[in-house]
Amino acid sequence: MLAEIGVASIDDLFATIPAEYQFKTDLDVPRQHGESEIIDRFRAYAANNANGYTSFLGAGVYKHYKPVIIDSLVQRGEFLTSYTPYQPEISQGTLQAMFEFQTMICELTGMEIANASMYDGSTGAAEAIMMAVRVTGRNAAVIARTVHPEYREVIQTYATHQEIPLSEVSYASNGRVNMAALDAAITDDTACVLIQSPNFFGTIEDVAAIAELAHSKGALLVVSIAEAISLGIVAPPKEADIVSLEAQSFGVSLSYGGPYCGVIACKEKFLRQMPGRLIGETKDVNGKRGFVLTLSTREQHIRREKATSNICTNQALVALMTTIFLTVYGKEGMKELGEHNLAKASYLASVMESKGKILFDGAPRFHEFVIDLPQGAEAANAGLLEKKIIGGLPLSQWYPELGPGASLWCATEVTTRVAMDAAAAGL
């Protein structure tokens, strides 16, 4: 090959790199490993994590059962190792599956259109706010304090440089958005109100009432959903204008924080301001139905600095996982899953209520709740860890006003009664 190219050595091909910048030694990285050694090494890493623990953590990342066919299908090389479907003639598999994804997300959220995914729920929420600013021509956003704290941090990062002023609205004693405070916070410059439902405390917001208030003042309502499974049993936020969903719960591994699957859904009239990729139906030259990436004049590879977002790579394979998950559970299963999650969390609350004070009673919740533990959340968890139980998430770092005892507990369909009884007994 070198002879065909007309050079004497490989190094000649790198001659354009000035000699002083040529790296002539070995990189100081792990030595070359055999496949069995790689597996051994990662097994050792895995063994250094929590093994054999029961966990009551949720807080934006939820352990649900993952049907086995998801992994067998997404590991097909045709899905796993394909590129972004810019050549539709040889990408109909991904394109059709993503069209199905968009349809299911619309059905679940009560919105009219959905994109083909965003990075995750946190960046999706930030992009949704930027979208609302473009749609309304207004510049500020009001955010409920019951939106996931890390989502709010990400939004802050994005908003700072978009010069979008943010204000926060606190919660009422039932854990829902404080309506009087919200009323006062919305101004003529408010592009949108962002809430999360179920919110960070697990409480289901009164979306219709908040929408009415926002709309009466000319602002849009953006609803962030961090626990997508709730949509099987909780009414969709159809009064919202934009929904930003984190779909991790639909069969995606916890994987220490990612990759997950954000997605933005909205009213059709906001289509031109939607960020990210969209799949549309069309026909080929023979009239046969097919699917393509469409409306790309919104996107960075066409519009450059005037694009609706700089997003390029999204979460396609993870969106496929969620599509398969939703197909497995389907119309009946999503409801049944929702009911099981409700039942488990109700039971957990019932066995724990004698151990502390459950906060924010008085509004419906899904599968999480906040309990104030008299011994303190950290101390309670330390005791539980000895029994190989990971307790709820201590909240004082984000909500110091709730005191040191407040922690957020979660039960899903995979949390067993035995585990819940053991946790309660250990408090």
Partner: protein
């Protein structure tokens, strides 16, 4: 029809039941199930009573299928995709290399795949060790001082890097106003600068397609925050004057940002940190072999010099005094968070497995093979296609359709025709500095035999362009669907299924069948 001449059995291809799989909603029948819940071991609850008006009563058109139907549905769809596992992707700038399967195996180990991001750090040491080892490896590969793994993709990494640039300048009292972006850059670069609140100043390339030093010198002033530069450039050529570029910027207090999309040309052979780059992102889904998955997930770590370290997103992985690893949130100058938790961790696992499978020798050889392959293609095809820039190529080569355009055959047509020969198209019409660009990046994964097949196919297509241009202009002919009406898709967008349509055409041949 010209089509018939070049296609063996198009009817057979298009009429088989596997080729006419409907939408999952069209396949649904009421009452079908593919799941069975575990027995409920706690008292059942009345959802209506618990949720009141918040209860959901209807799930609309969600699917109802059996398990075998679901398996067949998605398996059939999968067969309509091209993939690396089927053949070569000569997509320039995309680095479509082999995705090692051991990477998938280790990412699915239970202790790794089921780790919750809020589990105590004492019970997450394995995850943190993976992050730390990957961080150290990437810092070494880039010749940098510090890194964040938080960004979820390349464009997100650009966003993070430019945020850090901004924070750096703000710490000096002036955020500055503009980011310089060469006209050859990826679209994400100017889009990113805009998202971070900077004006975009476009830098015209010189006659060689490279940075015009004089023009750069004229443009850089005290309002310039940074230059976003892809190196090797999007025409696959190393910016030999890179240090002069860095000097021009640094003389005015501006920074050099490197888009690491083309890092597969450099790993183990040279290090951006050594040649003057201040901050850069990597694409783990390009250079470090994590699978592209039909468009994601990616991962876009950002490496930087010491001067930018205080501005890294939080948290950062730190070593505690007892030697254990932890996460530090105490970062007063941080740009904040760009994503919840710590990034696309599952991609970190795969990228580290790739690095371990290669080691220092393997990483260097990977780069050498990628560059060798691109130059082989260039040598073999430079008589067939016009080579707009003669500068030596690294990992990719950019031809143009100038010779074939005389017959009305454009780069996009030849890309589509390549599909008939069993390949994915090369990158079409990018970079924009080349009219009719045909951008080819073979990566190290391809054998000489595979390269020869691609070369033969492209030579044959060039011959067709001269002798029978119609067959190229109407390609592809062997695929399940032909060219799509993209104009109709954009004019009257149909973005979701809305119930059975009357005018769904299966296939004219299928009707006859």
């Amino acid at each position: 029809m010209a089509e018939e001449k070049f296609v063996g059995t198009p009817r057979k291809v298009r009429t088989h039941v596997n080729q006419n799989e409907g939408l999952v909603f069209e396949k649904s029948s009421p009452g079908k199930k593919a799941y069975r819940m575990a027995e409920l071991d706690v008292p059942a609850v009345d959802a209506k009573k618990l949720l009141g008006p918040s209860v959901r009563t209807d799930l609309g058109v969600m699917p109802e299928l059996s398990e075998i139907e679901i398996i067949r549905h998605f398996t059939r769809l999968s067969t309509w995709n091209y993939a690396i596992d089927l053949g070569m992707y000569p997509l320039g700038s995309c680095t479509m290399k082999y995705n090692g399967r051991v990477n998938e195996a280790v990412a699915r180990l239970e202790g790794i795949a089921e780790a919750h991001p809020y589990q105590p750090t004492s019970l997450s040491q394995g995850c943190l060790q993976i992050m730390k080892t990957l961080e150290e490896s990437l810092i070494e590969i880039c010749g940098m001082d510090a890194i964040t793994l938080q960004p979820a993709a390349g464009a997100h990494g650009e966003f993070t890097g430019i945020l850090m640039v901004r924070a750096y300048h703000e710490s000096k009292g002036n955020a500055r106003k503009k980011i310089i972006v060469p006209d050859s850059a990826h679209g994400t670069n100017p889009a990113t600068a805009a998202v971070v609140g900077y004006q975009v100043a476009n830098l015209k390339s010189n006659a060689l397609g490279m940075v015009d030093l004089e023009e750069l010198e004229r443009m850089v002033d005290e309002d310039t925050a940074a230059l976003m530069l892809t190196n090797p450039s999007t025409i696959g050529v190393f910016e030999s004057d890179i240090h002069k570029i860095a000097d021009i910027l640094h003389a005015k207090g501006a920074l050099l940002y490197m888009d690491g999309a083309n890092m597969n040309a450099l790993v183990g052979k040279t290090r951006p940190g050594d040649f003057g780059v201040d901050v850069m992102h990597l694409n783990l889904h390009k250079t470090f072999s994590t699978p592209h998955g039909g468009g994601g997930p990616g991962s876009g770590p950002v490496a930087c010099k010491k001067i930018l370290e205080p501005f890294l997103p939080k948290p950062v992985v730190v070593t505690n005094t007892d030697g254990s690893l932890g996460l530090s949130f105490d970062r007063p100058q941080s740009v904040g968070r760009v994503r919840m938790f710590y990034g696309n961790f599952g991609m970190f696992v795969r990228a580290l497995a790739y690095i371990m499978a290669n080691g220092p020798d393997g990483l260097r050889q990977t780069t050498e093979d990628a560059v060798l392959n691109a130059n082989y293609i260039r040598a073999k095809l430079s008589d067939t296609f016009e080579l707009p820039f003669k500068s030596p190529s690294l990992h990719e080569v950019v031809f143009s359709d100038k010779l074939q355009a005389k017959n009305g055959v454009k780069t996009g047509d030849m890309g589509k025709r390549l599909i008939d020969y069993g390949f994915h198209a090369y990158t079409v019409s990018f970079p924009m500095v080349v009219s009719g660009a045909m951008m080819i990046e073979p990566t190290e994964s391809e054998s000489r035999e595979e390269l020869d097949l691609l070369i033969d196919a492209l030579k044959q297509i060039a011959r067709e362009a001269a002798e029978n241009p119609e067959v190229v202009k109407t390609a592809p002919h062997t695929t399940r669907v032909g060219r799509m009406d993209e104009t109709a898709a954009a004019r009257k967008p149909v973005l979701r299924w809305k119930g059975p349509a009357e005018d769904v055409v299966l296939d004219s041949a299928a009707k006859e069948w």
